[in-house]
C-alpha cells in the first residue's frame, strides 16, 4: 500500500478536498479540481485527472460519499459530499495543521532574529 506522492502533499490535498466539500456542499470531480487549482495555483495537481486518485482514497475511508447525479447544465456527473466521519477527520486535521504551522512559524521567527 505504498503511496506515490509525499505524505505531506497527499495530506494537504486530502484536507483541501474535505474543506472544499464541507464549505461548498456536494460537488463533482471537475468542480473540485478547478477549485483546488484556483487555490493552490496548480501546485498540488499534476493534471485535473489526478484529483480522482485522492477522491477514491477518501471514499474508501468513508470520509466522503459519491453518487451519480445531474449537474446544473443537465450533465450526468458523479457528485461527492462529506460524511460525518469526514467532518470529524477535517476538524482533527485542521487542528493538526494549526499546530504544525504554529511550530514552523515560531521556528522561522527565531532564525530570522539571530
Amino acid at each position: 500500500m505504498k503511496e506515490d506522492k509525499s505524505d505531506i502533499l497527499q495530506g494537504t490535498l486530502d484536507l483541501m478536498v474535505l474543506k472544499t466539500l464541507d464549505a461548498m456542499g456536494a460537488m463533482h470531480g471537475y468542480g473540485i479540481a478547478r477549485r483546488i487549482e484556483q487555490l493552490s495555483e496548480k501546485a498540488l495537481l499534476v493534471n485535473q485527472g489526478t484529483i480522482y486518485l485522492c477522491l477514491v482514497r477518501l471514499v474508501q475511508r468513508k470520509w466522503i460519499g459519491a453518487a451519480w447525479g445531474t449537474s446544473d447544465n443537465n450533465r450526468r456527473a458523479k457528485f461527492y459530499s462529506i460524511t460525518r466521519a469526514g467532518r470529524k477527520q477535517l476538524v482533527a486535521e485542521a487542528e493538526n495543521w494549526d499546530r504544525i504551522s504554529g511550530v514552523i512559524g515560531r521556528l522561522l521567527q527565531l532564525s530570522s532574529r539571530s
Binding site: 500500500m1 506515490d4 463533482h28 470531480g29 471537475y30 479540481a33 499534476v46 493534471n47 485535473q48 485527472g49 489526478t50 480522482y52 486518485l53 477514491v56 482514497r57 471514499v59 474508501q60 475511508r61 468513508k62 449537474s71 447544465n73 450533465r75 450526468r76 456527473a77 458523479k78
Partner: protein
C-alpha cells in the same frame, strides 16, 4: 486503525470489482471532459482547440486508469498475477524448456549416480538449444556464442 482496516477491505472489494469500477471511472472522466470542453467553449475558445486543451488539462486516460486502479485496489497482487500470466504464455509457446526442466527434476529425485550423466547431457542440450534460439533471433552474435 479502524480507517486502515476499512480501507483494506475496500481495496479487496475494488480488486474483485475491477471491470465495473474501470467502467465507472471511465464514464466519470468522460463527464469531466465534456464539462471542461463546454466551459472552454463558453469562454470563447474554438471547439477543436478546446478539446485539445481539455485533453491536456485532464491528463492521459490510460495513465489515469492505471493510477486509479493502483490507488483503489491491490497493485502488488495485480502485478504478480500479470507476471504469472505472462510466464505461462511464454512457457506454452516454448514447451521444450519446461519439459526438459521437468525431466531433470524427476531424474535428480532418484539420485542414482549414473543418472548424473543423463542430467549433464540434458543440460548441455538445453544450453545449446537456448543459445541457438537466441542466435537465430539475432539477440547474440556467433562470436559470443563460441566464446561462451
Amino acid at each position: 486503525m479502524n480507517t486502515k482496516f476499512r480501507q483494506y477491505v475496500a481495496r479487496v472489494g475494488a480488486f474483485v470489482r475491477r471491470p465495473a469500477l474501470d467502467r465507472d471511472f471511465s464514464e466519470e472522466l468522460d463527464s469531466h471532459f465534456t464539462m471542461l470542453v463546454e466551459d472552454l467553449v463558453a469562454s470563447g475558445m474554438p471547439l477543436e482547440q478546446a478539446r485539445q486543451k481539455a485533453r491536456l488539462d485532464l491528463g492521459a486516460r490510460a495513465q489515469l486508469l492505471k493510477a486509479h486502479r493502483a490507488a483503489r485496489g491491490l497493485p502488488t497482487l495485480e502485478m504478480l498475477l500479470r507476471d504469472l500470466r505472462r510466464a505461462v504464455q511464454i512457457l506454452r509457446r516454448h514447451p521444450v524448456l519446461p519439459l526438459i526442466a521437468g525431466v531433470m527434476v524427476c531424474l535428480s529425485r532418484h539420485g542414482r549416480q549414473h543418472r548424473v550423466a543423463a542430467i549433464i547431457i540434458l543440460f548441455v542440450v538445453m544450453a545449446v538449444w537456448c543459445l541457438a534460439s537466441q542466435c537465430a533471433k539475432g539477440n547474440l552474435d556467433r562470436q559470443s556464442v563460441v566464446s561462451a
